[in-house]
Amino acid sequence: MKMTDTTLAPPSGPSAAGERLDRYREARRALWLLTRSFSSMLGLAIVVLFLVLALFGRWIVPYPEAALGSIDMAAMLQPPSWQHWFGTDDMGNDVFSRVVIGTGISLQVGLIITLGAALIGVPLGILGGYLGGWVRSLIMALTDLFLSVPSLVLAIAIVAVLGPGIVNTMIALAAVWWPGYVRLIDSKTLAIKEEPYVEAARALGASTPRIVLRYLLPGCASPLIVKASMDMGAAILAAAGLGFIGLGAKAPSPEWGAMLSVARGYLPEWWWFAFFPGMAIYLSVLGFNLLGDGLRDVLDPRTAR
């Protein structure tokens, strides 16, 4: 007596061609699943918008010189209008242009932090997970230690030593971010390591690099993609936070956090100065979070909420 479910899923074939067809079907289904979710599509739209602004902002803004430190005291602190959609700041610069160009900075910063953290964390995770023993204990101990101090606090401490500046901010944040990747990759590596097909490969004499490249890395790809996209949002937020405190980019760089820090002194009358950069931070983080959620629902449906 065979048990079959009552849905309409067709059976998949065991042949090589069938396998390729399965993967293609999987990918299409994944994409279809992604498009079904309103929030994921919204996230994707926001991310794409910000990417476009980051790449081409310089050429599409009305006042490109606003990001380069020009001063126009006559136009200082004007409210939003048709010439200046977001108003002007304390130096008379167009806030809209600065926010748009600032997109490039924020996204770059977020990307570098995330990449840096992953580049440190992923190899360490694979190393520890695969080798086990005292190597893993050491790596996990170090990871747990870093994770026990709040990242922002540790990052501020590191920046305090290195000195303020956007580069040091990135270094500090990447240095506190990598443990998260170690944890994730470690648990995934442990799981994949026990899989029968890895054991079989080992029994056939596959070398360690081959196992890493062929089985471990691809297996870690999905959770890694999800985490990376969520981290982009968190990294942008953290970098902006450090900028707000005054540890990030220096004037006249149109970094969002730094802009907010200056704008704070001009509240409450000249509110637009603080409102729009903050809104930009919020939207970009929201976009990456929504996208990350959508990717997670698609790539790992078991944890879908």
Binding site: S39, A141, L142, D144, L145, F146, L147, S148, V149, P150, S151, L152, V153, L154, I156, A157, I158, V159, A160, V161, L162, G163, G233, L237, A240, G241, F244, I245, G246, L247, L260, R264, L267, P268, W271, A274, F275, G278, M279, I281, Y282, V285, L286, N289, L290, D293, R305
Partner: protein, 335 residues
């Protein structure tokens, strides 16, 4: 059970040691001359050299480390360059302020988060559910400092309901400290006016600080409730004819709490980190503000001290949560 506690204590001790190593590393081994850092940007060459000898920075590293640990345990965190007061004094003033803020924010986040998550799960796919989900997603993305500024603009400036910043009015009488939490002390001493005012001052910073945690907790609580409500033992409870309270709270909620507890442990650390931002916006005289001001003035000793204190605080909180975990889940009590 005692084995478990002992093991966790051992882990705590090792982590503390590791924390001391990290902070020592940052202070002394990292790039930058530690003596120059400690002396501050306005020091002359001879001042720097004098400090180097005073701090024993010309001695071998291991000796320095031992001295460092000894100093920490005796409460000697050095002296602040900008105020020339011992750092420990600053810590003693700032710590209760931060703890009051964080405890209130965390309490609010947990209660509201679990409550909203539960409501959303029980009334799934209704307006309440959608509202909670939107709140949860956007709450995590919301920059705390921006949110704080907006609240200040609206409630303090525009409506005038709440004070803009600070912890208490300048001329308000303060209670003699009992447990060093201002509002609680005021109430214990019957100084209701002070207590009320303290609440007005703490309202906005606590709300802002709690928000990302609230959103996160609501999200997880909702997801976990949905899962436990679909579980077999809830079906069994319904088949027994048990009422809504038994089913939703005794069974579904209690099981859902376990992952939420783990999340709280995680978010506590984030919240403490967030104090740097929130205390800056609201001029709240806590550890976060102390740290930020010190960094901006290149006053290095307080920065390190705050890192240590906050790190230890988080470790302690996680230790307590581990204990709570065992208390909640009988499956962990075997050892």
């Amino acid at each position: 059970m005692t084995f478990y506690v002992l093991r966790r204590l051992l882990v705590l001790a090792t982590m503390l040691f590791g924390l001391l190593c990290i902070t020592f590393f940052i202070a002394n081994v990292a790039p930058g001359d530690p003596a120059a850092l400690a002396a501050g940007p306005n020091a002359t060459r001879s001042m720097v050299e004098a400090l180097r000898v005073e701090y024993g920075l010309d001695r071998p590293l291991t000796e320095q480390f031992v001295r460092y640990v000894g100093d920490v345990f005796s409460g000697d965190f050095g002296r602040s360059i900008s105020t020339t007061r011992p750092v420990i004094d600053h810590l003693a003033e700032a710590l209760p302020a931060t703890m009051e803020l964080v405890l209130l924010a965390m309490g609010f986040a947990v209660v509201m988060g679990i409550g909203l998550g539960m409501l959303a799960a029980v009334w799934r796919d209704t307006f309440i559910d959608h509202a909670v989900r939107v709140l949860a997603v956007s709450g995590i993305a919301l920059p705390m400092f921006w949110f704080g500024l907006l609240l200040q603009l609206f409630f303090a400036v525009k409506l005038g309901w709440l004070p803009v910043s600070g912890r208490l009015g300048l001329i308000t009488e303060r209670p003699e400290p009992i447990i060093h939490l201002l509002i609680v002390d005021s109430m214990l001493r019957g100084m209701w006016g002070t207590a009320l005012e303290g609440l007005r001052y703490i309202a906005m910073p606590a709300l802002v600080l709690s928000f990302p945690c609230l959103a996160s907790v609501a999200r997880v609580a909702r997801a976990e409730m949905i899962e436990t409500m679909a579980s077999d033992y809830v079906l069994g409870a319904r088949a027994q004819g048990l009422g809504a309270f038994s089913i939703h709270i005794r069974h579904a909620l209690r099981n859902a709490m376990l992952p939420v507890l783990a999340l709280i442990g995680l978010r506590y650390g984030w919240m403490l980190g967030g104090t740097a931002l929130v205390e800056t916006v609201f001029d709240w005289p806590g550890l976060g503000l102390l740290m930020v001001n010190s960094v901006l003035m290149s006053d290095f000793k307080p920065v390190l001290a705050v890192t240590l204190i906050i790190g230890f605080n988080v470790m302690l909180a996680n230790f307590l949560i581990d204990l709570a975990y065992v208390w909640l889940d009988p499956r962990l009590r075997q050892g």
